[in-house]
Subunit: 384 residues, 2 copies
């Protein structure tokens, strides 16, 4: 007798033999030339090292303070840094999570209690569609063209619209007028608007006050804020769930099933990183990423067929158009030389073929690592 | 038009007005006299302070090492400390998570792809049934009496059996012979055996080599190991998912949807805490918890009707039988005096009335905090 009927999950029948993007990133974790994941792996700056040196004092300080106070200080410093001055302050409207993906899981489980479908930006990092599908939601792809320029009334009606802005991997930013239009559309169609703004720290164009726009629109909304992509904190991070009034979803309940709270030490440390960023660290980070982007583009300048589909991107990842080379073949060839990037097929979760001829590489790396990785990429692309 | 049909989740129609146990714990977070949650909130010992002082050096060390190596060192040190010498070492059989509840969520989502029901120990902390129910599983209660002494062939056949050992809040430990029986029963019935051993660090009787028993049985199994209850690390912790061969569940895939990995700094720090525990810190912790348990029992010795249902418990929480007083009323009366404990009804997830006349208090607190809290509990129970 058996009550089991195991079949591999649909998330696994994707384009890439061997797994999803995170599994490809896992392969890269122990390689020095890992330009696969979008985590912040650059060297800490002098200002950031000061915060790291202070960890023992921060531990003692965090032990003695109410966690509510540490939470408010970290969240406030982070959101003000990124121009989000109208963020909510009422208890229960901001929930701390271990990461943006844990926040995502909580959102997905909450949505699934109330709807069976969502519109989701296409492309985007594949763990977002996989989590949403994993809790049973049916997904309608929303192309970047339609999101930014299309007729919003023609998006099929679902339980809500999920947008990553700036998007990963394209770096495209939802403009303020377009966010307003989208939020008003969601309000009139009674759809929940979910924004994942994990990469907004890299791009000042994504730092207009989203909360003012959202509050004005009258729609129901959720924003996932994430400190995890910005600073080299060895993955000590927080994902915040920020919720509209009258959301009508059991987000606080599902959150309480998963966690009581995040580490007070992480909150105290992130406040320190945010204050350093305010004192010039953020501008320094922007210069660092821009220089690394330029480094990649120069190093590959003489490779025939190479292009950069995301000309305006300021994010910490960069897509490289490979001409008629296959992304998977290039990924595999790089792997044999111990360089790990990501093929872009899986980002196009509804049509992997659209990403077939592109690679994504991470820019948040020490410059020598990036230089060495790009040198190998250059050789492989030149067929050497 | 609306595609929404929101109804409050079933997890919320429980016995306690106002929420689940974690939500009651949240109310306590900013109170000095918080004896609600089971997190480790005692003062760090001198040996532990040494590790905390080393955090900046550990940060630099962790930055320079492959995460696989840090993971193996932390997991190995922790499991050997707790007598688990036969733990698996093959890649893919140990997955690091941010916490035991995140591990739990991943297990639940994986189980739900393959079965629609589980047997679950009764009582246990209510986020376990809430997570399992939240992904759509039907639960069959397995009483402690049946688990420890009943005829295992009479447990209704489901997709698997979930056991917390030592249990929370009762502290009851599944003995080695009984684990063997249960594992063999699961093997013959093709059920997955899931063990949550989060509290095993407190009780040497739960430190026999579970992995040897599980491997011998031939059943499919999952163990959730958790560093989070043991040491005052300000909630920097890891929950490990340890998997049998041939599990036939998409645990690695769901894990990769939620995270790439935990912080290397947390891994390095936990290795330090485990080494300190090995050098005598664990025995010191056991003495500390035993002394705090004795403190509670002496302070309440002259209160009529009070009893201790878990006479043999060595865990860091203690149930107090209240005679004919109601747990909820007592909880509410304590709250008006700023002391936060937990009423035990919600632990009995299938029959809250069974826990009506009990309170759970946390012992992993600085002794002065516990002394002050118990003094208030004494007054309230004496009707003063």
């Amino acid at each position: 007798v058996s009550t089991w009927s195991y079949t591999p999950p649909t998330a696994f029948s994707g384009a890439v033999a061997g797994g999803n993007l995170t599994q490809l990133e896992t392969l890269a974790l122990n390689s020095r030339l890992n330009v696969a994941d979008g985590h912040a792996r650059q060297e800490p700056t002098a200002g950031q090292m000061k915060v790291i040196q202070d960890l023992p004092e921060l531990f003692v300080e965090a032990s003695g303070k109410p966690v509510e106070e540490l939470e408010r200080a970290a969240f406030g410093a982070y959101l003000r840094l990124l121009g989000q001055h109208s963020f909510p302050t009422r208890p229960g409207r901001v929930l701390s999570c271990y990461s943006s993906s844990v926040a995502m899981e909580i959102v997905a489980r909450s949505l699934a209690t109330a709807t069976d479908s969502m519109a989701l930006i296409h492309p985007t990092f594949d763990n977002i569609p996989d989590i949403l599908k994993g809790v049973g939601l049916r997904l309608v792809p929303l192309s970047e063209a339609d999101l930014h320029h299309g007729d919003l009334t023609r998006i099929p009606l679902t339980g809500g619209v999920f947008v990553t802005t700036p998007n990963n991997p394209t770096g495209r930013v939802l403009s303020e007028p377009r966010l307003r239009e989208l939020a008003l559309s969601c309000a009139s169609r009674d759809e929940v608007l979910v924004l994942d703004t994990s990469f907004r720290g890299f791009d000042t164009r994504a730092q207009y006050d989203h909360y003012a726009v959202l509050e004005d629109s009258g729609c129901r909304w959720i924003v996932i804020e994430d400190t995890g992509k910005l600073w080299p904190t060895l993955d000590l991070k927080v994902g915040w769930l920020v919720l509209s009034e009258g959301l009508g979803l059991p987000v606080p309940e599902v959150h309480s099933d998963i966690l009581l709270g995040v580490s007070p030490l992480v909150l105290a440390m992130l406040r320190g990183f945010a204050e350093d960023a305010e004192r010039g660290g953020l501008a320094e980070l922007h210069r660092f990423v821009a220089a690394n982007r330029e480094l990649v583009r120069s190093a590959l300048a003489d490779v025939p067929g190479v292009s950069y589909p995301d000309t305006g991107s300021r994010g910490s990842v960069e897509r490289i158009g490979l001409g008629d080379r296959s992304g998977m073949d290039t990924w595999a060839a790089l792997q044999t030389r111990n360089v790990y990037a990501l093929p872009c097929g899986p980002f196009f979760w509804n049509d992997p073929a659209e990403g077939d001829h592109m690679l994504r590489i991470a820019l948040a790396r020490p410059t020598p690592v990036l230089t060495a990785a790009v040198e190998v990429i250059r050789s492989v692309l030149l067929g050497r």
